[in-house]
Symmetry: C2
Subunit: 116 residues, 2 copies
């Protein structure tokens, strides 16, 4: 009995040596996620944010194609973003996403891992 196939991938972007103040801004974090959603060619349905005390932000957006989320640790100048999707992102997504994240958080390192 063959299972019908639902392709799903998770892309993880590990951010380090970034700007603490930018990593702690809910508005900026949401903006970065929206730029990534556009770069992937996906559609946002609903979004949720959480501001941790004394610092740290989590944002998650449900997409028509699954979800994307971001979690930051400003005190460590780090964070990570995962895109989990049942649809292949646009061809140039991996490079474009790295560039968007580097610029948004002035991060000197963005490393990508992929689960497929």
């Amino acid at each position: 009995m063959e299972a019908p196939e639902i392709i799903n991938h998770t892309y993880t972007f590990d951010i380090s040596h970034a700007d603490a103040q930018l990593l702690n801004s809910e508005v900026l974090c949401q903006g970065a996620l929206r730029d990534l959603i556009a770069a992937a060619g996906m559609t946002e349905l609903q979004s949720l944010t959480h501001q941790f005390s004394p610092q740290g932000v989590s944002v998650v957006s449900l997409l028509a194609e699954s979800h994307i989320a971001l979690h930051t640790w400003p005190e460590l100048k780090t964070g990570y973003i995962t895109l989990t999707t049942c649809k292949e992102p646009n061809d140039d997504f991996e490079g474009l996403a790295t560039e968007i994240i580097q610029k948004a958080f002035t991060a000197s390192t963005v490393a990508m891992r992929k689960l497929q």
Copy 2:
């Protein structure tokens, strides 16, 4: 320059040959995620659900330890759940999670993948 380390893992559980009606129930999907959060020893902060038309459910919960999400395709009797976390789940999580998912959706197959 060494980056401060934030450990993060993604566990993906691919569900197949499950009950279509159960996969299409928002309430049941939310309940299954809450059982998984408890099994992992994690804390839910906020939750978001989306019912697709004509069928399909997405649920995502922000956790104190990152996030967990579920996406279902009742018409294919499939779905998947991802737990993305900055903290190791409880030791018995992998086996317990598989059992929780199998029972919740009467799924004959639950396959786990891990990105670390």
